[in-house]
Symmetry: C2
Subunit: 363 residues, 2 copies
């Protein structure tokens, strides 16, 4: 017991090697224990529960040979140290979103979301069939990490505001929580922008440290209760139209897995990229209803002036960021070419259908 | 050798029991051989190749314990007998689309696509998180089949026409290939509608047996070469906005699998529902470019009159079909309630973003 307790304590401190917590009998049976750190609060709807479900799938498909234990934000390492934890071998897997790591390279932004970039379906297409995942793998390789595309949370909502936003002028001096490139666009429009992990947003909003925030969409935003403090809920989420997660695996750990176990992890993550995204789509529709009809939230569409101002600023920001270094430029050019083609097809397909349906639907 | 040859011949004839083709040494190693029949031509882009990829995933994740062999349309049974083949145990798995089985129950339509119904993302949401898959499972149970949701091919294109379609009048007397409820809507508008498996469409179009056809979208339509015969390519695919495939497993075979192997099949199919859909999204964009710029295809948007006429007729048809029997009514009511909620959310999310993007994009 003492030895187990010591090892557990050491793991919490983040210094135990990957295999140290596995008992000798487990090793002899070929059982591997994998720690999965996340950037989400414990069992947070959709994101945290999605991590648990992914872990269970991997364990079930491997017949118990791969035991994955999920750690919520702060349980093993602080949320924004999750990448380093996997890079350094303190954890084997990370369940997160790549734009949190933009401090390491601006290229990380493109694998999560770009303001006015792609829809979730277009993003999946670029990642899985275009060059997205190849470029992401190239980027992560220098950090000793193997990346996979995880679920999108869907087109996000614009965010929560205490007051109505009518013109671009209204953004000047606004204190707002927005991560990634969207945050940089808001800064360009005159706002004071902060990034905060999910669990710290509500207290900051309540204390008045920030005037407003974006997070995800109706399902996740309802869970955090932002409607209690800010009543105006803006759409559409032009700053994050595709927000797509990641799963990172320590490169040495990955190389040590059998082909069978590699395929189990790869396939489980891809399955959850359909399943978790579907959860968001389904529960956003339900939660939207609750927010409007139970909590009296006021929906507001961004004005054409704001939509255009944000578009122009976002194209500037994305181009600047995309030209910061040769690798990021390669990612930027590839992303923008894929985007132009995707727009050509979506105009006829998804957008064509949605507009035809809403022109005739009497709801 | 003689015994093996005999058994192989018997399997092709469709009378061998599931385990009969597995050699004695294979059984002693716990290896199961599973025949997967499909409704697609051999290695047909996206659909046929997706079936092959699914088979490989299952085999890889099971460490070779589940050997899945894919049969193209007609190789083991004719394409439209695939459901019965799995129901009767001639094959263990089927890779298809449920609306082909509407002759057994009109409820089968709802699990593939409904004219003016759901987008692919909304359909996944209803199937995986709403009651879709539960109802589908209930329906298939009486046939001794366990169903799973497979990939969507995306919002389809409206179809290929030899002449321009300007008004509802133009549909009268038109001989057109369209399956499922969309076909019934066209019939209501005065067209003569036929259903044909994929491989039989081009010859019929070339021979003039049909005046036009829909199939899938740019990627798949280019592969069949319809542009050689019909130059006008209409959008959007109001008759099939979500066309989503299925994987069916013989119920006794499913019950005989370990929990581990069940989870491997379930997860592999879900992974391909993201991966194959992403392939369609990506390759549709590329193929659209080729069709327009290399083959001189003329894109045409359906007129508001046609969009409205098709909408009104489709709501009538779907309601009539949805009230044919108590089980189908249960599915219809559930589908329509999910659709109303989905439209509320998509209006702000996906549609809101797509319209904001195209209002500002200078392509």
């Amino acid at each position: 017991m003492k030895r187990r307790k010591f090892l557990k304590g050491a793991a919490v401190g983040g210094v135990a090697a990957a295999a140290a917590t596995v008992s000798a009998p487990a090793i002899s049976q070929g059982i591997k224990q994998l720690k999965m750190v996340t950037t989400w609060p414990k069992n947070f709807p959709g994101l945290g529960t999605g991590a648990e479900r992914l872990a269970q799938r991997i364990t079930a498909m491997s017949g118990g040979k791969l035991q994955v234990k999920v750690y919520a934000a702060g349980e093993l390492v602080p949320p924004f140290q999750s990448f380093d934890a996997v890079s350094q071998g303190k954890a084997e897997i990370c369940h997160s979103a790549s734009y949190y790591w933009q401090g390491k390279s601006p290229a990380f932004n493109f694998f999560t979301v770009v303001p006015y970039g792609l829809t979730p379906d277009e993003h999946y297409a670029w990642m899985l069939w275009g060059d997205g995942l190849k470029l992401y793998t190239e980027l992560c390789d220098q950090f000793g990490v193997v990346p996979f595309m995880r679920a999108s949370t869907g087109v996000q909502m614009g965010g929560w505001y205490r007051k109505e936003m009518r013109t671009l002028e209204d953004f000047k001096g606004l204190k707002f929580r927005m991560p990634g490139l969207g945050g940089e666009v808001l800064r360009r429009l005159g706002a004071t922008v902060v990034n905060l992990p999910g669990g710290e947003i509500f207290p900051a909003l309540q204390a008045g440290t920030i005037d407003g925030t974006e997070w995800v969409g109706p399902f996740n935003d309802l869970a955090f209760g932002f409607y209690k403090v800010a009543k105006f809920y803006y759409w559409p989420g032009i700053h994050e139209p595709s927000t797509t997660g990641e799963v990172l695996v320590n490169k040495k750990v990955w190389a040590g897995l059998s082909k069978e176990h590699q395929e189990i992890i790869r396939t489980a993550v891809t399955a959850e990229s359909a399943n978790e995204f579907a959860e968001f789509t389904y529960k956003n529709a339900d939660a939207l209803d609750v927010l409007i009809n139970k909590h009296g939230v006021q929906l507001r569409e961004y004005s054409p002036e704001i939509l255009k101002g944000f578009y122009d600023a976002s194209q500037e920001v994305v181009a600047e960021v995309g030209n910061k270094d040769p690798f990021t430029k390669k990612v930027y050019d590839n992303f923008m070419a894929a985007r132009a083609k995707a727009i050509g097809w979506s105009r006829l397909g998804e957008q064509g259908f949605l507009n035809a349906r809403s022109a005739n639907f009497k709801g």
